[in-house]
């Protein structure tokens, strides 16, 4: 497979032959292949990208959460940025699920560096990563009782009394 060239078309084709049903949509904003993937298949897809000899997309740049309150049934999402250091090729994977039961497979077994990033995503969005060795808050105080990056919560501190809402746009 050494003559396999990585570009958006060949990578998409190769992924689709293995995960055809799970790829819900694909686009290339700023020339970066971006796939929306079924939540249940995301772990296997990342494992495939890492282990496939032709692709070698084996570096996790980052992962993070996102909240779209208007997308009913698909409010919460996780975004993965992956990088092939051998081919200098980047890909972005997105997956969305309901806010009612925000659960997704952890990828700590594939990338140990995902450990703190998944904890951070849990801390701010309340997304639970199944199989994570220590699914607890990481940055906020332990007794915080909500997930502050969800859109329904104000960014501002609710206990501050010296600010008049009329003048501070709250």
């Amino acid at each position: 497979m050494s003559d396999f060239k990585l570009n958006n078309e060949t990578v998409l084709e190769r992924i689709k032959t293995h995960f055809g049903e799970a790829i819900l949509s694909s686009e290339t904003p700023y020339d970066m292949l971006t796939l929306e993937v079924e939540t249940s298949k995301i772990h296997n897809l990342i494992k495939f990208l890492k282990e496939d000899e032709a692709l070698n997309i084996s570096f996790l740049t980052l992962l993070g959460g996102i909240h779209y309150p208007e997308n009913t049934g698909k409010e919460l999402g996780v975004v993965y940025h992956l990088h092939s250091l051998i081919h200098n090729y980047r890909i972005r994977l997105k997956t969305f699920f309901s806010i009612e039961n925000p659960e997704i497979d952890s990828i700590v077994d594939l990338y140990i560096g995902a450990n703190w990033q998944e904890r951070e995503t849990y801390d701010f969005f309340g997304i639970k990563f199944k199989g994570h060795p220590n699914m607890t808050r990481i940055l906020n105080e332990d007794d915080m009782d909500y997930f502050p990056m969800r859109k329904e919560y104000h960014l501002e501190d609710a206990t501050r009394e010296d600010k008049d809402d009329r003048f501070f746009g709250r």
Partner: protein, 180 residues
């Protein structure tokens, strides 16, 4: 600095009478050991205050105490997150009486620009503060002015102020044990 102010002294051969309170006040004020609790840019300004241009050692304050047990003055310089709050409170509780607190900069005084869910909106929500230094960050001159005001307090407040009912009431409001 250094001298004991407005005193009626009685001079005699080999002795001088004065008030113990004033002597102790002057002694304390000229050897305040600060504990810098610096978390951000105000801490950098405090470092400049420590440096040779501004030179805190002029006031007997060159000895930074990084253990709260030997410190007299807690200098909180910088943003205190809510997660850091209990640690700051613990540091304050570990200091021995008499103790004073200087709040340096907008963040320590009121949360400053960080009106957000993760930042404590002023350290006076968890520990009592003696002097507030405004600014974002304050210049070393302002920090020195704050320190001078602390010195005035140290010199002039009654030795037993810390055991007064008002002070105990304040500590009680903040849920700080007084060990009395």
């Amino acid at each position: 600095m250094g001298k004991i102010e407005d005193l009626q002294t009685i001079n005699g051969e080999g002795y001088q009478l004065t008030r113990l309170e004033k002597v102790l006040g002057a002694a304390r004020a000229n050897s305040v050991w600060p504990l810098p609790f610096a978390t951000s840019c105000c801490g950098i300004e405090y470092m400049a205050t420590m440096g040779s241009n501004y030179d805190m050692s002029r006031f007997g304050m060159e000895r930074m105490s990084f253990s709260p047990r030997q410190a007299d003055l807690l200098i909180v310089a910088g943003t205190i997150s809510k997660k850091l709050g209990p640690i700051l409170k613990q540091v304050y509780e570990q200091m021995a009486e008499p103790k004073w607190v200087l709040s340096v900069g907008a963040c320590a005084c009121s949360g400053g620009i960080f009106d957000t869910y993760s930042v404590l909106q002023g350290i006076d929500r968890i520990i009592p503060v003696d002097v507030y230094v405004p600014g974002c960050p304050p210049r070393p001159e302002q920090i020195i002015d704050g320190v001078m005001r602390i010195h005035e307090l140290v010199k002039n407040e009654p030795l037993r102020r810390r055991y007064s009912s008002e002070y105990k009431h304040l500590l009680n409001d903040l849920n700080i044990e007084t060990n009395e």
